[in-house]
Homo-oligomer: 340 residues x 2
């Protein structure tokens, strides 16, 4: 008899999430049926989208999220014991899966055995070689359509997706401007990741700084935050500029609708194109993104960083730290202590 | 010696335009050179975009706009005397043109002799068979990509562009919901123009009314107004919905940036696509739009209405009436009194 530890979405977030909103419970798992396997979480993901989707989630169910787990028992030949799998199993230590998607939602990629990461940590399947990596690859290349010489602005630039987008933009010969909330992050983006410029939204006037570092205007904007910062950037865009809307972190924790200067004037006068996306739209091209990112990582063209919180029981802290912007690159939880 | 009456942009609009912002002056025109022609205005256009572009216009120059004029003297074989021409000549009674674009701006279509309107008024070259007609034709069909059975919402629905978009949407077998500011306009849209539903934004709760008349959500949104109304509509859109941003009338007369609930959350979660445009982007397909609209008008499939103000000297009143939403369909000025 296996007991799973499960974080249940107990109370709807009201503003910034409180620890009591998520409840840790134990669940007894039944014996496996044919076609099923039992997976034990090794790495769990905390991502901004979890806060964004929270208003639509059902209370009393496992809180959402992807994890890298090891198959520890199996009655499914496609999921052999000891293989690492990715699964959108949610915040839980042990999961019985029949390999189909758990959720009917659109955030889900079916469970699958990780491809050969060639010596790299399986945890990268939650980051640079997983959903955030594909979010950057498809969301930026498909919707921003960057051309050599274009000026690209990225908000949430120091997160898992932002750092990745910036590096792809450099590979495409673009000028890259990252916006984030600390000078130390900026130093990292410029010195390690080759960003051309950094703007600290907490201490700088974005409009003025942008005019200085992007005097010819902005062609592509990869938007993780929404709100007033985005309106300001739209005001600096060039005709036929492209905006890829990945998220709206700036507003996730507001109770009432966040207001910002309207975008429609800029959209019309400059003939801008803005498109929002959820990365699972490209589910049928999933491995194309993973393989390209893996090649770039192996060639040293895409660098990554993980901010690791130890202990499954610290999921909530890792989640709220990420929402506060504590992380550099991908925020993950290593369940180790529990995995033993 | 011909004297032209010219409205000059004298003082930058500060909020709602004041009569003193535009100044009527007389200008002596020189004799024609080879390649030039002299045109006398018969119909002049007043459009929302004039307010939208005003902040970018140069003071002391002729205020912008299109007109239908008659060639009264010519040294250009392509512009024979007595022909009607369309020209972006601005608010002026007489114009010497060498047939090239006057402005370097993007709002300009080069002067051209009107095609044969087959007995219809040449004034339609400012409306249903001119720029507003093409704005509806290209801006809606190209950017909203309507499919049979789609639900289409239009703001500024009773204006020249809005009425036209709604009727094209009906021709494409869509369900059409118009939003405007008076029940009398709504009656006209439903009874004469075959709109399925009407919402009065001044007296109704748009969110509630929209839920009622579009219970399956909104697929296409043709946006003339921007601002909070648009944010509300985005909140009711379906996955992969398309938004064509034609203008932002709601904000044109505000001194400071208008704020509204942010759009990025809806954009990302519902994977919406929003694109702004200026109709001259389709200059190379201009006659395709004119000819299609002419065919629809002749077949009785597109109805139009003109709100005519008499007298060139009343340009400013016609302009501000249009900004206040007094007009049904296309607002124009008939220069007649002056024309002889």
């Amino acid at each position: 008899m296996v007991k799973a530890k499960v974080f249940v979405y107990a109370n709807r977030f009201d503003g910034f999430p409180k620890e009591s909103d998520i409840q840790l419970v134990e669940e007894e798992l039944p014996p496996l049926k044919d076609g099923e396997f039992l997976a034990e979480a090794e790495y769990l993901s905390v991502d901004p989208y979890m806060r964004g989707y929270a208003p639509a989630l059902k209370l009393g169910t496992t809180f959402i999220g992807g994890q890298i787990a090891k198959v520890i028992e199996s009655k499914n030949a496609n999921f052999p014991v000891d293989k690492y799998v990715f699964g959108s199993f949610g915040w839980r230590s042990h999961t019985i899966s029949n390999a189909s998607s758990l959720s009917k939602g659109r955030v889900d990629i079916p469970p699958h055995v990780l491809p050969d990461f060639k010596g790299l940590s399986p945890s990268l399947g939650l980051g640079v070689l997983g959903m955030p990596g594909n979010t950057a690859y498809f969301g930026f290349l498909e919707l921003c359509q960057p051309k050599p010489g274009n000026t690209v602005v990225i908000t949430g630039a120091a997160g898992a997706v932002g750092t990745h987008v910036g590096q792809i933009a450099k590979l495409k010969d673009c000028k890259v401007i990252g916006i984030a909330g600390s000078d130390d992050k900026g130093k990292w983006l410029k010195e390690e990741l080759n960003f051309d410029h950094f703007i600290n939204y907490k201490t700088e006037n974005i409009r003025e700084s942008l005019k200085e570092v992007a005097p010819k205007g902005v062609d592509c904007y990869f938007d993780n935050v929404g709100g007033e910062i985005s309106s300001t950037i739209l005001g600096q865009m060039n005709r036929f500029g492209r905006i890829s809307v990945c998220g709206a972190i700036s507003a996730y924790n507001d109770n009432k609708p966040t207001k910002a200067s309207i975008v429609q004037g800029h959209m019309a006068l400059k003939e801008l194109k803005m498109e929002g996306f959820i990365v699972t739209r490209w589910a049928d091209r999933w491995m194309e993104g993973i393989n390209q990112n893996m090649q770039w990582v192996q060639e040293g063209k895409i660098k990554y960083r993980e901010t690791i919180t130890d202990g499954f029981e610290n999921m909530f802290k890792a989640f709220t730290d990420m929402l506060k912007g504590v992380n550099y690159g991908k925020a993950i939880v290593r369940a180790k202590a529990l995995v033993k």
